[in-house]
């Protein structure tokens, strides 16, 4: 089985290199890279799937001649869930990318992006299965660096390089924490290959658990994009081509969560304050992420911030589960972890769907500014349906999958509120409030996205008659939309698959979980039933209206302008004006800069209003930090003033200082 996985990896790598070598024949490279990616993903998908539906974990280990290194990999349920996500998305996104990149086959070599794309896929998979610290770190960095080169695909465009650099620096600094974490983990494992997880497990003293957890949160949180480590994310995703953003937010950011969970499985104890830390980060990310997101009129920035929000929801779920473990509340544990994991799966689906969709929009209309779009639903109906599914799902509304996971998180919070002590249950209320408000604001953001971009009348020429888009670009989106529906309808089997993972993470044997599993499965089956009912009733009503209208006059007319004759598409609400009440209401916490040239005089020439919302963490934390460091360093530059005898004075002073220090340390006499 695991050989199959490795074969898949091999195919990915080989096709990537081959594509690179075929760089001259750009089209061919495109085909090779894409087929390789799809084939490799299919091969790798299978073993992961089999493990997840109840196959027993497999592991293998080969020697690796680097310090502390060994090529140890394992495919247990936790890993295979993420391998599944990685390969599933890689395959679908590759199809989309093949169509997307084909446009550029003249001006640039497509071997390069494919090389990095497949390399990134390999890196991600290895991260998920690695069982050795060095192997993990190497895979992790390969993944990050490869994705950097994908992010800077449009390096000739202004701002892209800066965005890419922000990303590279952020991920590199995050990784530094992981170095320390893995080394500290391996400290007490005596053997030479002391960074094998097998060797680590059980040797970690409880005293160092807290430090390790903090390091993990910072290191992995940077990749996942928790506040306040998310700062690279709203820069990188818009700069990157849409398919790259899709795979990054769909799969790569999830691997941050994976790392966190993996560390939890290795740590000897789970403290309660960790849970609170996760919950707090989740609450902040959830609310602030969507709040900043809805203020963006750039489609992809909006999606990027919504990623921050959803990662926050996931973090809340996991935090609740952790709280359940540390307070010994089985129901809470089960519901929390299930909710977190399920939402993770869901987010992987609908976020990559939406990002790919943004790619289609950009390709069709040439802009990703919502205020320029409109009326796409009439012009690309099937695509619009898929996107609508994505929007409903990400808003967390029934009858789609987004609701199911949020529902579980709610349930966990309510359970905690009932079962836990006063202080703790007050915290649960915080969670309930956060999930609710982020849900409501999510509704604002995504009604704006869909309503403005797809409904109403086009706001400019390109949107009025979009360029035709190949089926390669649309097909994966349709599949993902189908997946969203499928998860909503078949959530129970999925939950059964996730239970082993919960037991692995919660340090809790499967039997105990199965006893309480009813607390999750019964409501979920009810929800599923309800969702089906919702669909059925809607269809019934539709039939009813059909019957009513049968044989009556059904006519078309212009939209009623409330008596105003000749309304134009420019008069419609734009995305900015649509979210303006919300932005105004939350102005105190948003850094929204507005520039207004009000119409003046009797015959005003032109009036304009520009509003832009900056990132709080970036402006308030990181920029000042970097600026001050540079300030200090520039002040120190006079050291190298170029006057040689002063240089020699340095020598003299050094040796004399050393001697005096040394003589002073000598014992008298």
């Amino acid at each position: 089985m695991i050989e199959l996985l490795l074969t898949g990896l091999g195919i990915l790598a080989a096709s990537g290199v081959l594509a690179l070598l075929l760089g001259r024949w750009s089209r061919l490279a495109n085909v090779v890279g894409a087929t390789g990616a799809v084939a490799g993903s299919l091969l790798g998908f299978l073993p992961a799937w089999l493990t997840l539906i109840g196959g027993r974990p497999e592991s293998a280990s080969w020697p690796w001649d680097v310090p502390y290194g060994s090529f140890s990999i394992e495919l247990d349920p936790l890993s295979s869930l993420f391998v599944l996500i990685v390969f599933g998305l890689t395959g679908l996104v590759a199809i989309h990318a093949a169509g997307y990149l084909d446009l550029y086959h003249k001006e640039r070599s497509l071997g390069v992006p494919w090389f990095f794309f497949n390399l990134m896929a390999c890196g991600m998979t290895l991260v998920a299965v690695a069982r050795n610290g060095v192997l993990f770190l190497v895979a992790w960095e390969v993944m990050s660096v490869a994705s950097y080169f994908l992010v800077t695909f449009y390096d000739e465009r202004p701002g892209v390089l800066e965005a890419g650099r922000t990303y590279l620096i952020a991920t590199h600094l995050g990784t530094a924490f992981l170095f320390v974490m893995f080394i500290l983990m391996g400290r007490h494992a005596g053997s030479a290959a002391s960074l094998d997880f097998a060797a680590i497990a059980g040797t970690i003293p409880e005293s160092s658990a807290n430090l390790l957890f903090v390091l993990a949160v910072v290191g992995f949180g940077t990749k996942a994009g928790f506040m306040p480590f998310h700062v690279w994310l709203p820069e990188a995703y818009p700069a990157a081509p849409s398919f790259v953003a899709a795979i990054m937010s769909g799969a790569m950011s999830k691997l941050g969560i994976y790392g966190l969970l993996r560390v939890l499985t290795l740590l000897p104890v789970l403290h309660e304050w960790w849970a609170w830390l996760l919950i707090a980060m989740g609450v902040v990310s959830g609310v602030y992420g969507i709040l900043t997101g809805l203020a963006q009129s750039d489609l992809k920035r909006l999606l990027a911030y919504s990623s921050v929000e959803n990662l926050g929801l996931i973090s809340m779920g996991l935090g609740l589960g952790l709280l359940g473990v540390s307070t010994g509340t089985p129901g809470l544990t089960l519901l929390g972890f299930l909710g977190g994991l399920l939402h993770l799966v869901n987010h992987a689906l609908f976020k990559s769907l939406l990002f790919l969709g943004s790619g289609v929009i950009v390709r069709a209309t040439g802009t990703r500014d919502l205020n320029q779009l409109g009326g796409l639903a009439r012009r690309m109906p099937r695509f619009a349906i898929a996107m609508l599914i994505g929007c409903i799902a990400i808003t967390g509304l029934p009858p789609l999958n987004g609701f199911v996971s949020e529902f579980l998180i709610y349930l966990a919070a309510f359970t905690g509120q009932m079962r836990l002590g006063t202080g703790a249950s007050a915290g649960m209320l915080l969670v309930i409030g956060a999930v609710t408000i982020s849900g409501g604001l999510g509704a604002v953001a995504f009604t704006s996205l869909f309503g403005i971009a797809f409904l109403g009348q086009p706001r400019n020429e390109r949107a009025a008659n979009p360029a035709p888009v190949g089926w390669l670009l649309i097909a994966p989106i349709t599949i993902l939309a189908g997946a969203c529906v499928a998860v909503a309808l078949f959530v129970l089997p999925l939950v059964w698959m996730l239970l082993p993972i919960v037991s692995e993470v919660a340090h809790w044997e499967l039997g105990g979980i199965l006893q309480v599993s009813g607390q999750a499965t019964q409501p979920l089956s009810a929800v599923t039933l309800g969702s089906i009912a919702l669909i059925v009733v809607s269809l019934g009503l539709a039939l009813l209206r059909l019957a009513l209208l049968a044989g009556r006059r059904v006519t078309q007319a212009g939209t009623w302008g409330c008596g105003y004759l000749g309304p134009t598409s420019r008069m419609q609400y734009t995305a900015s004006s649509y979210v303006q009440p919300a932005v105004d209401f939350f102005a105190p916490v948003l850094l929204t800069r507005t520039r207004l040239d009000a119409p003046l005089g009797l015959f005003p020439r032109r009036a304009m209003m520009v509003s832009h919302t900056d990132d709080f963490a970036k402006e308030a934390i990181y920029r000042p930090l970097f600026v001050s460091v540079e300030w200090v360093f520039v002040r120190l530059r006079w050291l190298q003033h170029g006057r040689v005898h002063i240089y020699i004075l340095y020598l003299g002073v050094t040796i004399i200082a050393l001697l005096t220090w040394y003589l002073s340390t000598l014992p008298p006499g």
Binding site: R637, H641, G642, R643, V644, H645, I648, G652, L663
Partner: protein, 216 residues
């Protein structure tokens, strides 16, 4: 014997002080030459056993190099660069002499505080202080003078100081090594001379204080 040694040492000290005091290049080159000659004699005097042929040859080489060859090289460089006088130094001459005094006192103190651990060697108590003083004043020359030539002279003085220590303490230094050292110093001075020549040709001055185009 010891009397002669101490005489030389004191002489060296005096040359150091004068070097700190003088501004004429010719003088300082000449002073370094004299110092070198004096040091050439030194090994013959501090030798604890009888004087071997090896020792004589060595002394001769030192005498010729330090006393004759180096000064020649330097004055040739000075001629080609036709500079007669030190550019306005960073630390004035009288101030330099005072500092030199401080240096001497300091090294005397150090010499007193940390006696050489070699009881059996007939080493005069003046030796260590002199060596230190010479080294330090050499360093000080390099730091405080602006003319490239004077810096080379300073380097030589520094070298001399180290040589004093070496001659007294490490007598078992194999011949080859000593020769190698001397050769190195010789080549160093030679190369520096060439460099000075190029500097004067490129910049029409050998004021190293103006060579500051490379910096951050």
């Amino acid at each position: 014997m010891d009397f002669a040694v101490e005489l030389i040492l004191v002489f060296v000290l005096l040359t150091d002080m004068t070097l700190l005091g003088t501004g004429r290049l010719a003088t300082s080159i000449w002073l370094s030459a004299v110092q070198g000659m004096a040091l050439g004699v030194l090994p013959l005097l501090v030798a604890e056993h009888e004087i071997t042929l090896r020792l004589v040859v060595f002394a001769a080489v030192v005498f010729t190099l330090k006393g004759i060859v180096f000064p020649r090289l330097l004055s040739r460089a000075a001629r080609m660069a036709d500079v007669k006088h030190e550019v306005e130094p960073i630390v004035g001459y009288s101030a330099s002499i005072l500092i030199g005094l401080v240096i001497v006192i300091l090294s005397a103190w150090v010499g007193a505080a940390f006696p050489l651990p070699i009881a059996h060697l007939p080493v005069s108590p003046v030796l260590l202080p002199t060596a230190l003083a010479t080294i330090l004043s050499g360093l000080f020359l390099i730091v405080s003078r602006r003319t490239a030539l004077t810096q080379v002279v300073g380097y030589l003085v520094l070298e001399n100081g180290i040589y004093i220590l070496g001659a007294a303490l490490a007598q078992e230094e194999p011949f080859l090594v000593e020769m190698g050292v001397l050769l190195d110093v010789f080549v160093a001075v030679f190369v520096m001379g060439i460099a000075i020549f190029h500097i004067s040709r490129e910049f029409d001055h050998i004021d190293v204080d103006q060579l500051t185009s490379l910096k951050d």
